[in-house]
Structure formats: C-alpha cells, structure tokens
C-alpha cells in the first residue's frame, strides 16, 4: 500500500500562509486525504497556500486534478496555490498539461512567501 504523508504547517516567514509538505505517493486513493486537508484549511478561511512537492515519488492525474479543483475557490477568496520543490519529472508533467500557465512555481518557500506579499 502506497502512502501519502501530509504535513500542514504555518509558514515560518508568515503565519497567514499555509505550507503543505507532501511525501510519498499521490494517487487516486491518497488524494482523498489531501482533499480533506484542503477542506479543513478552506473552512478555517486560510487561502494562501504553498505546496511543497519535493517529497513526492509519484503523482497521478487525479492528484494533479485536486489542485485544479480547489484553485478557483482560493482565487475567488483572494488566495492562491504556489508550488515549490519541483522535481524535473513533475515539472515536465506540469509543462505538458499546461499547468505552468495556471500555477506559479518558486525555487524556495521564502520566494513564494515574498510573492504572496507582493500580491
């Protein structure tokens, strides 16, 4: 059984920003847990998210879909998802699907936090 480990923390640089650190296997099964975490943050009216994909060894299309599914609501509430920890493989998938035109990608958490400040 492939597992997904989700760590949800306040950003050290800005406590208004939520950081999701994902480790393991994000597929059609484990994505339900991630969607659960997303719902909890939305209910707490926290809409500025940084998602760290650095620990993932696999991401399925259903996993990618979970980010699309939540993006419109975040943006409507003045929030967004910024990605960090891109691996070459995930970056290739992002480029192929056209995610690069939808999501912003940063090299570090600090850069992503700065981008939220500017927004």
């Amino acid at each position: 059984m492939d597992l997904l480990n989700i760590e949800v923390v306040d950003s050290a640089q800005n406590a208004e920003i939520v950081v999701f650190r994902l480790k393991g296997h994000l597929d059609a099964q484990t994505v339900r847990e991630l969607e659960g975490s997303f719902t909890l943050q939305l209910q707490a009216a926290r809409v500025r998210w940084i998602v760290d994909l650095g620990g993932l060894d696999y991401i399925s299309s259903a996993g990618l879909g979970s980010f699309i599914g939540v993006l419109a609501e975040l943006q409507a509430k003045g929030g967004n998802i910024f990605f960090i920890g891109m691996t070459p493989k995930i970056e290739k998938i992002f480029k192929m699907l056209g995610f690069m035109r939808i999501f912003k990608i940063f090299a570090s958490e600090a850069e992503a936090v700065r981008a939220f400040k500017g927004a």
Binding site: G65, I68, A72, M96, L97, I102
Partner: protein, 515 residues
C-alpha cells in the same frame, strides 16, 4: 433473516434441551460428596464398633478370669453355696447378663442372672451358648468367646467360656455372658450423628455446586445473548467482560470476533460497491471505443487497448471527416471509475461534433474545452492528442491538449510531434490555449499515438518503461507488417513489466503510410 436461521436461533433461545450445566454440576458434586461421606462414615462406624468390642472383650476377660480364679477351690469341692457367692460378685458388673459355674462334667454348680430368671437349674447339664467365635487380641488360647443371643431376653451378648483350674487340673468351667446392648446403643447414636453430619455436608455441596454453576452459566448466558444479537445482524453487539479467567478470555475473543466480522462485512460491501462501479465504468468505456478500424487508402491503422484493474479512463477514436480526411485521437481522463468514464463520454461526444465543423485543428480543441469545461467535474481534466490525417496531401495536422507527444518513426529515427496546448477542462475558454502543427507523412512512416499508461508502465521494482525503451521498440517494429509491429511494441511493454499489475490503462494507436 432467512427462515432456517430464525429456526436455529429460536432453538437456542429456548435453552438447552438436555440437562443444564447447573443440574449436571450439582448432581456430580452431590454424588461425589455423598459417596466419599458414605465411605468415611462406614470406616468411622466400623472402627468405632471394633473399639467398643475390644473394650467389652477386655471387660469380659477380667470378670471371667476373676470368677474362674477365685472360684477354683469351691468348684473342686463342688461347694455350691460358695460358688454362688462368686457368681453374685461377677454380676456386680452391670454389663454381665449371667454367670455360671459347672464342675468338670458340665453340671451346674452355681448360676446367677441379672434378670433374676436363671438360664439353667442347679444340678442340670449346662448348655453353653452357641454363636460366631470372636477373635480379638489378648484372648488366651484356653478361653472361648462367641457372639450369641441371651436365651432369656434374646438380646445379643458376648459369651465367655473359661476353664476353672486348681493345681494345674481343670476342675470345671466358668461361663459369663456380657450384654452388647450398650455397644448397640452407642453405635446407633453415633450412626445417627454421622448421617446427620453427612446430610449437612451433602446439602452444602449442593448449594455450592448450584452457586458455582451460576458463576459459570451467567457469563455463558451473556455470551449466548451476544451471539444471538450478532446472529440477528447487530454487529455492534458486545459482551461485558467481568473476569480474567477462561470465560473472560472467551468474552474478549467474542468481542474481537464481532469487530472482525463488522470490519470484514464493511470491507466486503465497499469491495462490492467498487466492483460494481468498475464494471459500470468498463461498460461505458467499452461502448466508447470504435467497433472497427476504418480503411484509409494508402494507409494502415492498428489499435491496442488494455484496461487496468481500476479503469484509468483511456480512449481512442477515429472520426471520418470526409473522403480524404480522418481524425485519430487518443485521450486520457484524470478521473477514474464511473465519474471518469462519464467525463470521457461527454468529451468524446463534444469532440466528434466539433471535429465535423471542420475548423482548424487547434480551434476544435478550444471549442471542445469551451463546451465541456463548465460541466466537467471539479478537478477533472482530459488530455488529448488530436491528429487529422489528409490521405490525399499526406499531411498530419496535430493539436495536443496536455497529452504526451506523438512519435514519428522514419528511417530508424524517432521524431517527437509535440504541439503545445493545455489539458481540456482546466481553464475557461478565455485562458485556454492550443497550438497546431502540420507534419508531412512520407511513405513507410510510422506514427504512434499513446497514453502515459505505456511510458509509465511499471515493473515490480517500480521502474518505468519510459520513453527511451518505447522509442527503441517503435524503431525495431517500424519495418514489420503493422499488426506485427503493434504486437512487437505491446510485447516489449509486457516483457518489461513482467507480470506486475498495470496501474493505468494502456492505449496505443499505430498509423503507417504504405511504402
């Protein structure tokens, strides 16, 4: 609940048909206690009687010996008056029933009885009392002791027969009879006490057996009630655990079993639901795939599709536009199972309608996205490689909605066909973007359209088949007849995964311009 099940449960509710544990336990314990008490009582009574008998024999020996010793000269002289005096003395012991002295001919010299009624007359021949000889310690060889009856009262007596010896010569006999009434009375009294005591013990044993049975039976009854509840379908039923003994362990085991059953049932229900969803999805999916491969003059087409266990939502389609033009499309939906299949069905219908409007290829994808995006399930998207072949001009006009690039094998080399574009369903029409690319197809060219189920097929070591192996297989297959070429590539993937179960659908479409 089925009838036979309620029948069985009904029988259990009625309680045991045979003897209850309480009865069995009480009977067994009472029986054992009674038997052991009876044995013990018999032993005690026997010992008691033996002790009393020995005591009586000792008494008789003393009295008899005295009578024989003291009366010796009187007997020798046949002096009845003096002899009577000795028999009187012997009667001073109140257990002595009678005392008799005879001469050496057995003729009665003196006789005395406690009742006053003499057992024999003076001068008559004495008939010694007959009976069972008694053997006991301390009885001299010349003395006889028998258990007998008093001829006067009929009461049981111990009869003693002593020789009367004067100067080493037996001159007569001394007889006394000792009443055993005392012994009988003491024995009766003792027996009564022992039996009463035994009865009390048997009663106590019965009471403790019933209480003990209750201690065992109560948790068993609780377990029975629990089992009935579970049998009736209540998998939340549990049995209170009140002890740490074997029955406590049984109750705990029962509770664990019930929970296990509940989990197993929930798993089964979930599994069945999933299985049903999968078969529905598979039915939808199969309905979407082309029933046959269309014929295109100067070209060959072949397609392979293998569903994963969880239907991954792959699709390929052939859409004839006019006499020379034919669309070949390969798509993959991000959702699985029934929602994925429905998303794919919607996409296919819209794509077919838009393809026939004969606009630019990139525009067909934009319009398809514009129609499906508002309706598609949130978070679901479709990647699609769309290629329109013009068999008259020998061109392939391609657009790509976030899908893997197509590969063109020509003269032993692979060329990627990768127009840029976003997956369908991600963004509204205003943000959507899809490029288009026209590729010239030469004689002998082989074009492969596929889904990521091919390139991401994994072996048991979790390595991916990958683009490089795929390209090499395509090059190796490019000279073969198309059916064989398709088989060669599929075999290459299968050999790589070596039996590992596929985690995604595998779709491969090959198109070749005849040489």
């Amino acid at each position: 609940m089925p009838d036979n099940a309620s029948g069985i449960l009904g029988q259990i509710v009625d309680g045991p048909k045979g003897l209850s544990i309480r009865t069995k336990l009480a009977a067994t314990l009472a029986g054992l206690v009674t038997l052991s008490l009876a044995l013990m009582a018999a032993f005690i009574l026997y010992e008691c009687r033996q002790a009393l008998l020995e005591e009586a024999i000792r008494r008789g020996l003393t009295v008899g010996r005295n009578l024989a010793d003291y009366s010796a000269s009187a007997v020798l002289q046949k002096d009845s008056l003096q002899a009577i005096q000795f028999t009187k003395d012997a009667l001073s012991d109140d257990a002595v029933v009678h005392a008799v002295l005879t001469d050496d001919q057995g003729v009665v010299l003196a006789v005395r009885a406690s009742s006053g009624r003499l057992p024999a007359e003076f001068g008559a021949k004495w008939q010694p009392l007959q009976g069972e000889p008694v053997r006991a310690e301390g009885v001299p060889a010349d003395v006889q002791v028998v258990e007998s009856k008093d001829p006067d009262s009929g009461a049981s007596v111990l009869a003693f027969d002593f020789p009367v010896i004067q100067a080493g010569v037996t001159v007569g006999q001394a007889y006394i009879a000792l009443s055993q009434e005392k012994i009988r009375e003491v024995m009766e009294e003792t027996t009564l006490k022992v039996v009463a005591l035994a009865a009390v013990f048997v009663l106590l044993a019965l009471i403790s057996a019933v209480m003990l049975a209750d201690v065992i039976v109560r948790p068993v009854k609780r377990l029975t009630r629990g089992a009935l509840a579970v049998g009736g379908g209540d998998l939340d039923a549990s049995v209170e655990v009140r002890s740490d003994d074997e029955l406590g362990v049984l109750a705990r085991t029962f509770n664990a079993m019930t929970q296990g059953l509940k989990r197993a049932q929930a798993d089964l229900v979930e599994k069945e639901l999933l299985q049903r969803d999968l078969s529905i999805a598979q039915e939808i999916q199969q309905g979407l795939l082309p029933k046959k491969i269309p014929q295109i003059p100067g070209y060959e087409l072949a397609a392979f599709y293998a569903p994963a266990k969880e239907v991954g939502g792959d699709l390929y389609d052939f859409i004839p536009i006019d006499k020379h033009r034919m669309v070949v499309a390969v798509a993959d939906v991000s959702g699985k199972s029934v929602p994925g299949s429905l998303g794919m069905a919607m996409t296919r219908s819209v794509l077919r309608a838009e393809a026939l409007r004969q606009g630019a290829v990139g525009e067909t994808l934009s319009r398809t996205n514009a129609v499906i995006q508002p309706d598609i399930r949130r978070g679901m998207f479709v990647t699609l490689f769309y290629a329109m072949l013009d068999s008259a001009k020998h061109t392939l006009t391609c657009a790509n909605a976030g899908h893997n690039p197509a590969f063109l094998a020509r003269h032993g080399r692979i060329q990627e066909i990768a127009p840029e574009g976003m997956a369908l369903g991600l963004v509204p029409a205003a943000q959507f973007f899809s490029d288009e690319l026209v590729v010239e197809i030469k004689a002998g060219d082989l074009v492969a359209l596929y889904t990521d189920g091919v390139t991401e097929a994994m072996n048991s070591s979790r390595e991916e088949y990958g683009e490089e192996r795929f390209k090499a297989a395509l090059i190796a297959a490019s000279a073969k007849p198309l059916a064989e070429a398709l088989k060669h590539v599929v075999d290459s993937v299968r050999a790589f995964v070596a039996g590992a179960p596929p985690n995604d659908d595998i779709t491969l479409v090959l198109l070749r311009r005849r040489a």
